[in-house]
Every structure is written in C-alpha cells, then in structure tokens.
Symmetry: C2
Subunit: 324 residues, 2 copies
C-alpha cells in the first residue's frame, strides 16, 4: 500500500475544507465558523484520521467527511475555550469572540458542534456505521469537556498532583487525537483490536505532544516557536513544569516557589522560576516522560497486522521532538 | 389503543429524568446540568414525543430515552440563551451562569448538547434507527441556532417584517416541538407520511404556542401567568405585537411609536404602547393568526390513519388557549 505523506494529505484536506465551508440563513451564524476554519493550523487531527484510513486504503476520499468532522470539533472547542480563557488572539488573529462578539462565539460554536455530528453521520453512511462513529465521538467529546472543566477547576486550587495533570491533558488534548485515529480505522474497516490500538496510539501521542508544548514553553527557541519564552509562566498557567516542581520540592519551599511564580509578570522576572525547574532537573525529567509516551505509542502500532505503519511512526516522532 | 393523558406521561417522564441525572468526573461539569434539569417546567417537548409514540404503542417505555434527549436539548439551549440574554432568573431561580459562573454555563451546556446526541443514539439502537434520529435532530438543532441568531440580529435592526418574525419563531421555538413529535413517530415505526404530518403538526402548534406567549404578555392576567404585564415591552423585546404594529402603522407614526416603546421603562409607562396595539386591533389580529395555526395543525392530524389523535388535539387546543 502506497502511503501518502503528511504534506500531501494536509493539502488534500485543506482543499476539501475550503470547498465545504458552511453557508446558511442567517449567514451571521456561519461567518464566524468560516472565519475559524480559515485561521489555519497544523490540521493534525484530520490528517491523522486520513493517515489511519490510508493504512488500509490508498484512496482517502471516503474518509474526508470524517476528517472534516474532527476538525469541526477541534475548532468548536477552540471557539468556546477562547471565550473561557479570555484569549484575545489565536494564530496571530483576533479570536472569534473578539472579532464577532461573545454571543456569536457561543452560538456559532454550538452550530459548529452540531455540524460536526451531522457531517459524521453522513461520513459513516456508505459503510452503515454512522451511529458507531457518532457514539465514539460523543464519548470522546464528553471527556474533552471534562478535561476543560478539570483545567478550570485547577485554576482555583494551589496545584493539582502530577497524575491529575496528566489525566487532565489526556482528556482535554489526547482524547481527540485518539478518536481521530479511531474513526479513520473504523471507516477503513479495521478489526476491533486495530481500532483500539490506534486509539491508544493517538492517546499516547497526544500526551507526548502536550508535554512537548509545555517543554517548548521553557526550552524552546522563541524564533522557532513564534511564542514568548516562558509564556505559560507569565500567564500563571499551571502547566506540567509548574505541577512537577510544586509536587517535588519540600512543602516549606513551596511558599517561595509560588511567590516567584506570582512575581513573574515580565520576561525579566521568569529567571527565579526557571531556577526552580533546574533544581528539579526539569528538562531531563520531561524528556524522560516523553520518551515513555513515545515508546508506548510505538508499542500500540505493533498490533497492526499487515499494515505498514512507518509513516505514523515517523509522524509521532516528528510531533514529539518538534522544535515549534 | 388506550392513550395516556398529559399528566400521567409528565409524571412518568419526571421519574425517568430524575433516575437518569448525569454524574461524572469532574462532577463540577455535571452539577449545573442536574441543576437545570431540576428546575422543572412544563416538559412539553418530551411529553409530546411520548404522546406521538403513544399513538401507536400503549407502553411508552421504549420512547423514554428519546424524550430525555429532547429535554436535554431544550435545557442546553436555555443554558446558552440565558447567557446571551443576560437573564438573571429562570423559573424564579438563578440561571446557570449566575449560579455557577459564565464559563460553567458554556461548558456544561456543551456537555449537555453532547449528552443529547449520545442518549439519542442509544434511544434508536433497538430499532436500528439511531443515525436517522440523530440526523433529524441535527437538522432541527441547526435551525434552532439559526432562529436564535435571527433573534439576536433583529435586536440590531429597527424592526423585522412580520414574516421574518414568524420565520424566526418557527426556527427558534416551533422546530424543536416539531422534531419531538417526529422522533416519537419514527420510534413508533410510523410511515413517512405520518412522521412528516406529526412534524408539521408540532411546527404549527409551536408557532401558535409562541404567539400565545406574546399575547399573554399584554392580555394575560399577571396573577395567572406569574409574569409582569407587558414584561416584553419593558425589556424592549421585539415580539409579535411590536413587529405587527411597526409594520401596520404609517412610516410617519413609527417615530412616535418607537419613542413610546423606548420610554416604557416602568409598568406605569406601558399604556401609550398598549394604545398603539389597540389602534391596530392587536387582540383580534393575534387571535385570528392563532386560530389559523390551530386549524393547520389539526389538518395535519387528519393524515394519521388508524390512530386516534384526540389527545393531541385536546393538548394543542389547551396549549394555544392557555391563560398561563
């Protein structure tokens, strides 16, 4: 089976997305949807869905509607999360609630979530698996909401434990990557074992992907990431380095650590926080955790009989060790 | 076929709803959902679904999950609409965004919408029509979003036309009543003609129901409705009486009419607005429109062969001529 690479599948998906932008009456409901769909991004979830499908079928055309559905879900969640986080910018442009108002961002987000399910029902019709696809998506979607709620709940606490943090990112981020691969495999007619293996591959990949995001916040090169170094620290986000440090240092040190975090309002003030990270050997610790996620994701791929998963392997490595 | 009355079906549904309140981790996501489900209300949509099913089957048990799904959808839309309308109270209690915060109302609303689809998929499984039920729900849901968007867009205009207003309430209110009856009929195994007839019956009923709401705002007895007389006028809502008056009087009169509406900030100030309504013979006009909706809803019921729809007829009349 000739496998298509990330770039060609991305461009295939972009074309499909553009050709399927939603319009309707009143169009004020659909314009914010087209706006967020047009903002770009890596399109990781739809392309992973296509790659999963591509393990069994050369022509990915029948999987494009399902790929659209997962991108719709992702964009719906960005629209609503950005309201909750009061984020002014996304990919360098005003977020939907800034560009169109908060009420539009709520309502167009709702419409986009509904379109996700509608498109997914259509996507499974030719194989008679519409209800199964939707059911998997519902379960994942609820977990994603739970992850976002956990994240909001953490903000009200001093710090979650490390395992609570990992459970939060599993739900909030990894779940959608898992279900994208799962849906692709289901559409391809893969066995239950293979479908589950691809879900877990995606889940482990998603965990590693998020840890890499947190890693790049401190150790990334701002010129490559396009983000301010220590941005999470400056915004007071309880990311993995924060959680690990808090739970590693002695309770008596925590007061000083929290104090240093609170005082880090400008780039010049993040050094004391970085020193705490050095004290707990953060870089090595995070790379170690990541390599474990990578290893477990690779193990899942071994369960795919008769398929050449080398492209997925390559991609997993690229997504985890990326520098931006 | 012995048909069950509204009261007994309502109590049957209330029991089912209470026994199926959602719990999960973190429970902060599900508590606002249980709160809104517990707020009560007439449960019109789920009970209409059960009544539609009951036209063909005595035991409504297999239709209870679908009834739950439409009530979930209704409560999801209330949660989000209340944020958009900045409503502090619903049924005399704080709205979800007041009781739990705006972010919770957004996120728990999302989770409730997802639960609606999840429950609906389960509801259709025993008949193998999960995807069909969900597909109808998706189409109706999108129309409901469109209706809410039209309503928000109207706020930014001087006044919509009468037919634009009717199209808005058809989408925003009547659609969900239509789809509730439709889903009940589909689950019952009704013919396509019967399913469509029940949808249209619900749509006409929903239109009449909303017009009655608007009518009661002016001509209702506050002691019976539990609402302030002229509440819509005081809130500056562009309801049917406003729209009809604006479009009936001469363009030169409109300035004075709009001025009287703007000045109506207290109960004592609504009299000039009521006088405009008298000038266009509002009460008769609205009762006439309503009786036309009632007549067309009844015509649809004639298409149900071999079923005794007298209970639905009774209910339609009761819902339209209700005094509260």
């Amino acid at each position: 089976m000739s496998q298509q690479d990330y770039t060609s599948l991305t461009s295939r998906f972009e074309t499909y997305l553009s050709a399927h932008q939603p319009y309707g009456v009143p169009d004020t409901l659909y314009e914010p949807i087209r706006y967020i769909n047009d903002l770009g991004g890596k399109r990781i979830r739809p392309v992973l869905l296509l790659m999963a499908y591509n393990l069994w079928h050369e022509d990915v055309t029948p999987a494009l509607p399902a790929a659209l559905a997962v991108e719709y879900f992702h964009n719906f969640s960005l629209m609503h999360d950005d309201i909750m986080d009061e984020a002014p910018l996304r990919r360098g442009k005003p977020t939907v609630h800034i560009a169109y108002g908060r009420n539009s961002a709520i309502l167009s987000g709702d419409a986009l979530l509904i379109r996700c399910f509608d498109v997914l029902l259509e996507a499974g019709r030719h194989r008679g698996i519409s209800a199964d696809l939707c059911s998997c998506m519902c379960k994942a979607s609820l977990e994603i909401c739970e992850g976002q709620q956990m994240d909001m709940d953490f903000e009200k606490r001093e710090a979650p434990t490390e395992s609570e943090y990992l459970e939060m990112i599993r739900k909030k981020t990894a779940c959608l990557i898992g279900v994208s691969l799962q849906l692709g495999a289901m559409l391809a007619g893969a066995s239950q074992t293979e479908v589950s293996a691809l879900y877990r591959f995606g889940e482990q990949l998603g965990l590693g992907f998020q840890i890499q995001d947190d890693y790049l916040d401190i150790y990334g090169d701002a010129a490559r990431t396009g983000k301010q170094q220590g941005g999470d620290i400056l915004q007071g986000k309880k990311n993995f380095p924060f959680v690990h440090t808090y739970n590693t240092i002695s309770p008596s040190d925590r007061i000083q650590f929290l104090n240093d975090c609170v005082l880090a309002c400008h780039q010049a003030d993040i050094k004391p926080v970085i020193r705490w990270y050095e004290q707990v050997d953060m870089a090595h610790y995070m790379l170690d955790i990541q390599s474990r996620f990578l290893a477990s994701s690779m193990e899942e791929l071994d369960q795919l009989s008769d398929s050449d998963s080398s492209r997925l392997q390559d991609l997993a490595i690229r997504l985890m060790v990326r520098d931006h």
